[in-house]
Amino acid sequence: MDQERLRAWIAAHLGRPDLAIAEIRPLGGGSIQENRLVRCQIAGESRDFVLRMDASATIASSRSRAEEFRILEAVWKAGVRVPEPVGFCDDPAVIGAPFALMGLVEGVGLGPRIAKDLSLGGDRERLAEALGRELAKIHAALDPATPPASLAFLGAPEPDPARAEIARLRASLDGIGAKRPAIEWGLRWGEIRAPACPAPNLVHRDFRTGNYMVDANGLTAVLDWEFAGWGDPAQDLGWFCAACWRFGRPDLEAGGIGSRAAFYRGYVEAGGRPIDPESVAYWEVMAHLRWAVIALEQGARHVSGREFSLELALTGRMVPDLERAILRATAPASWS
């Protein structure tokens, strides 16, 4: 990375020609993006940013960095607790790829650590409530009828989000040539049992433990907006509560960190629409299906030889565990 070019871009963007970069170092991040910490000095004061760019291989269903940044701007304006969107550079000449620059938020994001380390996140029932409130804010952040021009790429809401999701998952399976009868069984169940979505709104689509940060006192930011779009709010509730995202705490149904009741309470108190438990239960099954498909895609990145990674290779092998959960929830009697 050409540090002087990056410095010049940030300096020009902020209108502070005296800006200096003190340090750049990699931050732990997702398997889709690379995040770097960029520590800057402006007139003797420190300002710390996170620079986010694509990793070498990406999941096809994730949004471009530019689109993710526009969504981040919109939810920041709506008061959702997210890192401050500072700027987006679409000129690949600056550091080799387009990148987003955001304000640094302190905290821990790693899912297993948050589930295990109770010195983080403050009181856990309050944390679950806070996450429910934040999700309600996300769902109310935009009106799908009148989105800002910068979000035109979101298109119109799909009339049938559940079946649209199933079509996407089937296309993903076909894209990597995966033939998994148990997943197909679950997807067909999902097609038959798809709930209606009378009022789609903005959904995060990856709202779970591991994609938000906490400090010792509580929630500091909701991260990872690359899957956001119009959809069924029950999808986010189901994704957050799904058994596959509880990080070794199956008893804590809200993301392995708190009770479902506390999470729902925060959601409803902050203006979230009434929760339909059956619809959320449906989306919890869909969560396992989606995670299984993503795990297969991650495994395929390793298998294809494009990217050596033991982590990705092992992720591909956890699919049978998800298939068991899918099958448990889709017994023949549950089809009608």
Binding site: P181, E184, E311, A313, E323, R324, L327, P332, W335
Partner: protein, 107 residues
């Protein structure tokens, strides 16, 4: 005649040596990687041990049909709520799940 110890037993010995003798002396990323390596070795060993059960369970799902045909039939709705297919899928997923993570460790 297979040489002793078998490939699966060797992998199991390698996994134990790694987790009992190497991992305790590691911290941070190397510890995490070593645990992943141990996990991968365990999966490979169990896959060898369970090979017969796995292929039997797989054959039960397919029932003589090519997997492409089964996938197409499920998508087309030709196997909706089919109790025989369901039972076979459960058996296969349980066998494969056992390879990923032995039931004794919870699952």
């Amino acid at each position: 005649m297979q040489d002793e110890p078998s490939g699966a037993a060797l992998l199991d010995a390698a996994r134990r040596a790694l987790t009992e003798e190497v991992v305790p002396g590691l911290t941070g990323r190397p510890r995490y990687v070593a645990l992943m390596v141990a996990n991968a070795i365990g999966i490979a060993a169990r896959e060898i041990t369970e090979a017969e059960r796995l292929s039997g369970a797989q054959a039960g799902v397919l029932a003589g049909e090519p997997v492409e045909g089964l996938v197409a039939a499920i998508r087309a709705g030709a196997r909706d709520a089919d109790p025989n297919l369901y039972a076979a899928l459960e058996t296969a997923a349980a066998a494969a799940g056992q390879v990923w993570k032995p039931a004794s460790r919870g699952g």
